[in-house]
Symmetry: C2
Subunit: 258 residues, 2 copies
């Protein structure tokens, strides 16, 4: 049995309490938070709001709080176990002066409504001490998740890539929904296209599936689309995508011909 303490009370903390608590090889022995919301009892985990009350001898401490607050909490923690944070863009060294430091970063967007099991989410792991790798691997295996050893420099890149593919993509969906609403078009018409675009990358590299007027340099359609956009930021965004798609395509052609 691996004993775990969760620290924090946001989305990630609540997600992990729910997900880790239900595995027979894992036990959440304590849940620390500064301010309860009042609904924590339903999780059936022993709670505390005092950092002094946090036991020192759990196997794993998982810090799930805002990025900026991680270093301060790490300095206040006097524990023997491995301490990990769950942040995409924070270095493992934010946990100094702790000697047993690590990262447990589930790469997924967690809404209140997230129904994905931990087994469906890639776990990006890091440990400052070689001997702590086995513990993190045992947890990944217990929850049946695919895990990757990703160092802090790589994790920054991964987090940036996640912003492009999740936050920016979602914003493109929003801009499209806005256009549809303005012209009385049901946005649902675009659902199958959106899903197909996302599903294709499972078996085809997105570089090889690019299509559209930007790639073809179809000036009629490009000018037509720019004329339809009345927002200056959107116009510039459209032009930049066109440039970037054409630039990418030239690089691909160059690489192919080498």
């Amino acid at each position: 049995m691996i004993s775990i303490v969760i620290l924090g009370n946001g989305r990630m903390a609540r997600y992990l309490v729910k997900q880790l608590h239900s595995h027979p090889q894992l036990e959440i022995v304590q849940w620390y938070m500064r301010e309860p919301r009042g609904d924590e009892n339903q999780f059936g985990v022993s709670m505390t709001t005092s950092l002094d009350q946090v036991g020192q001898s759990a196997d794993l401490y998982v810090i799930c709080i805002s990025d900026d607050a991680i270093p301060t909490l790490a300095q206040q923690l006097a524990v023997d176990g491995l301490v990990v944070h769950t942040a995409g863009s924070v270095s493992i060294d934010a946990l100094a002066p702790l000697t047993r430091r690590g990262v447990f970063y589930p790469l997924q967007t967690l809404g209140e409504e997230t129904s994905s099991k931990l087994s469906q989410i890639p776990l990006c792991l890091e440990a400052s001490q070689e001997s702590d790798r086995a513990l993190l691997e045992r947890i990944a295996q217990a929850v049946e998740a695919t895990h990757y050893w990703i160092d802090s420099a790589q994790r920054q890149i991964l987090h940036l890539a996640a912003v492009l593919t999740n936050n920016f993509t979602n914003h493109l969906y929003t801009l499209s929904a806005n256009l549809c609403e303005k012209h009385q078009i049901p946005f649902e018409i675009l659902h199958p296209l959106i899903l197909e675009t996302a599903q294709k990358i499972k078996h085809l590299h997105p570089r090889n599936t690019q299509t559209g007027p930007s790639l073809r340099n179809d000036q009629n359609t490009l000018n037509n689309h720019l004329g339809l956009l009345d927002d200056k930021t959107l116009k510039t965004l459209y032009q930049l995508f066109t440039q970037s798609i054409q630039h990418q395509h030239e690089e691909k052609l160059q690489n192919t011909s080498q």
Copy 2:
């Protein structure tokens, strides 16, 4: 039985020949193309490369050729049936001087590898004559597709929205894959995130699921990410998305407080 002539030999033409031919209520009576590729016999459809040979009395003629070439072909067609094109960004009036004009626009990205059935693709329909609506509706019903009546002005917007959600989104996937490759990170780590982002819009409006450093105006992460991007176009793209996400969020807050 509805008799159909397909005109063209690109992706859309081949997709429709395959899909429409297998339905008992539909018959592709002829397939016109300027230049065969040599593999057309497998489809089991009567072919011709001479426009003069195209019969005049089919129920429906489907023009699937490049946008620019549509008006010229329409002028050469002397037929009695309804003539439709399949282009997202071309007006129904590109088919003048034909009097029975229409549009049959399946909104999906069609790769050589597309496995989607026509029943899974929204059909955007338009007809210049009220009496031709029934014919297009019967075809949509025969292939069990959801159909929408979308006029030419709306279809232009829809095509623009499709470029944002398919072409530009796919380019964001490519940029992310490039970043991953450059830093020896398996791109597959991002697959579940990409899929979840796309699947969420089925039951939640993308406006309400936006997350990330741009929305939070998290200056540390934003500066960090800009520092990681060494390409000028990408930097500007990142800044524009941040502006546009924040602008959208302000509008949403204003609308909520009204």
